[in-house]
């Protein structure tokens, strides 16, 4: 993913990649939290 692709995305695409990004950041943070919790 680069800035050029973001700039040329349609509105619909931009909203979709925003939502996908939100989802993966949420998942990665949850995984990290879980791992830290498991290791005390």
């Amino acid at each position: 993913m680069d800035n050029e692709k973001i700039k040329t995305a349609t509105n619909e695409e931009l909203i979709e990649i925003f939502e996908e990004t939100e989802k993966i950041i949420k998942k990665l943070n949850e995984d990290k939290k879980k791992m830290e919790k498991d290791n005390g």
Partner: protein, 528 residues
């Protein structure tokens, strides 16, 4: 592009799943990879929001707002002039005494401060005609006089309200209807000074017409209609409020998909055409919407027209009725004077009264209250029977109701659709009636006589059939809401198509306002 991005995310997920997490060293590597990925996607998020901010700025700046505050102010002033120059209106309506009396008559709904404010307003009406009232003028009954003595003695006092509260308490227990006595006293004074007030207001009318450069009230009605038309044109040019209606969920862009708009056109045009081809009907469809609304308004105010027709049918009953009622008022007031003499014998040195209002006084006051009310209606009925006839139009009838607040109030009272009435409801109906009456797009109102047996929905349908627009009577009357909504969507679609913003951009604005603006604002990532 989205697919490519999803694949990239899937690959990351696969990689993370396949990483060993069985010992502390592997777990540290795994966490480190997670952190690296979080940073990477956070930076994507920043770039995406940055781009979203830019687009939001561009699209949001396409919203066009018009300022109509000045026009609205001008319209309000013109409407105030109209009340002054309408031929049926006497100083009673022109000065606003009709509303003051209405408020005093319904004093039980009001606070003492509002009551005294209304009395002050009434005194000022007389004052503007160089009639300077004092406590002596308020001698309709000794109770009224006791209250008004305190009123005039303290009119400029800082503690006026608290002084009047005490005065009210003192008089109320001896005479609970003292406010009614004051109301009748004002009516009595109005009748006494009517000629002087008429003279004053005839000057005001002349000045008003001169100032507006028009010869009569009809010309002023045209000026006001033109002003309303100007405001409507300005509002039609505006896109800002329309776009905001999508953002606030009043409208949904899904209703404006091409196929939905074509479906809306098909309700009126019995042909399979492309969206562009349907557009030739737009002007006529806009006019059709105005016609349907005009019919709706006609039905809404039919109760007023029916009320007027009923009075005209019984015109023999109302011949010289004003004179007869006025005689009855004078007779009753003579009786009241005699009762007053008896009460005055109990006046203490400080001017306060000892005895309670007698049942005879209460009955006489109630009779006078009914008579004065009838007197104001009877003046209007006499005007109606000599000015409204078979050659009068619906416009003439509704203009009469608009002129006479008390007639509108009586008509509303007789209409079961209004469960309970108050000054706000009557004022709202009065304002709505003005909008309908003065709407420049009315066709029926000025062209239909009151006794004409006419099927307005049929006339509308026949007119538009000539223009190749298929519509039946029920679409104009019973199902009108559905058809107005379809016409509205066609008109809005056309308006936005002609503007510099498209529905995709509106969708983006809606999404941004809902999902980005509020959530990211706190983090300082959005510009708006």
């Amino acid at each position: 592009m989205v697919k490519e991005y999803e694949e990239q995310i899937n690959a990351l997920n696969l990689l993370l799943d396949s990483m060993p997490k069985n010992n502390s060293k592997n777990q540290t590597i795994y966490v480190s990879k997670l952190e690296e990925s979080i940073n990477e996607y956070e930076s994507y998020k920043s770039m995406i929001i940055n781009e979203m901010n830019n687009r939001y700025m561009v699209y949001n700046s396409k919203k066009h707002y018009v300022t109509i505050d000045e026009d609205e102010k001008e319209l309000k002033e013109l409407l105030d002039h109209l009340i002054l120059v309408l031929p049926i209106n006497t100083p009673f309506e022109k000065s606003g005494l009709d509303k003051i009396i209405y408020n005093l008559r319904h004093y039980y709904d009001d606070s003492l401060i509002n009551i005294t404010n209304n009395i002050k307003k009434a005194i000022n009406v007389f004052k503007s005609s160089n009639i300077h009232l004092n406590a002596k003028d308020f001698d309709y009954t000794p109770y009224c006089n006791e209250f008004m003595l305190c009123f005039f003695n303290n009119i400029d006092a800082e503690d006026f309200d608290s002084k009047m509260k005490i005065a009210f308490e003192n008089v109320y227990w001896k005479c609970p209807e003292v406010i009614k006595h004051i109301e009748l006293n004002i009516m009595f004074l109005y009748v006494r000074y009517k000629r002087k007030l008429e003279k004053h207001y005839s000057k005001i009318v002349c000045n008003s017409l001169k100032e507006l450069n028009c010869s009569d009230s009809y010309e002023l009605v045209d000026i006001i209609s033109n002003k309303i038309g100007e405001i409507q044109t300005k509002e039609n040019e505006e896109t800002g409020k329309l776009i905001d209606s999508f953002i606030t969920n009043v409208r949904k862009t899904s209703e404006f998909k091409e196929k939905n708009i074509i479906e809306s056109y098909k309700l009126f045009v019995d042909k399979d055409l492309s969206l562009d081809e349907y557009k030739i009907y737009n002007n006529d469809l806009e006019r059709l919407k105005n016609s349907i609304i005009e019919n709706q308004n006609y039905l809404k105010y039919q109760y007023i027209v029916e009320n007027i027709k009923k009075i005209i049918e019984q015109k023999d009953q109302y011949k010289n009725i004003y004179k007869t009622t006025y005689k009855a008022v004078s007779k009753c007031e003579k009786i009241l004077k005699k009762i007053n003499k008896q009460v005055k014998k109990s006046v203490k040195k400080d001017g306060s009264l000892i005895i309670k209002a007698s049942p005879l006084m209460n009955d006489t006051i109630n009779e006078l209250s009914d008579l004065y009310r009838e007197l104001s209606y009877h003046r209007l009925y006499e005007w109606l029977i000599s000015n409204i006839n078979e050659n009068s139009t619906l416009f003439d009838c509704l203009r009469f109701a608009y002129s006479c607040f008390s007639f509108l109030e009586k008509s509303m009272k007789n209409n079961e659709d209004f469960e309970s009435l108050d000054i706000i409801k009557i004022d709202d109906e009065h304002d709505e009636l003005a909008k309908y009456l003065l709407d420049p797009y009315n066709n029926v109102l000025k062209n239909v006589y009151i006794n004409q047996k006419i099927d307005i929905p049929l006339i509308i349908c026949d007119h538009y059939k000539i223009l190749n627009i298929e519509i039946d009577k029920s679409s104009v009357s019973d199902d009108s809401e559905k058809y107005i909504k379809a016409l509205d969507n066609i008109i809005i679609y056309d308006k936005l198509s002609k503007s510099n913003i498209d529905f995709d951009e509106i969708d983006f604005l809606v999404y941004y306002e809902k999902n980005i603006k509020n959530t990211e604002k706190e983090e300082g990532k959005v510009i708006a």
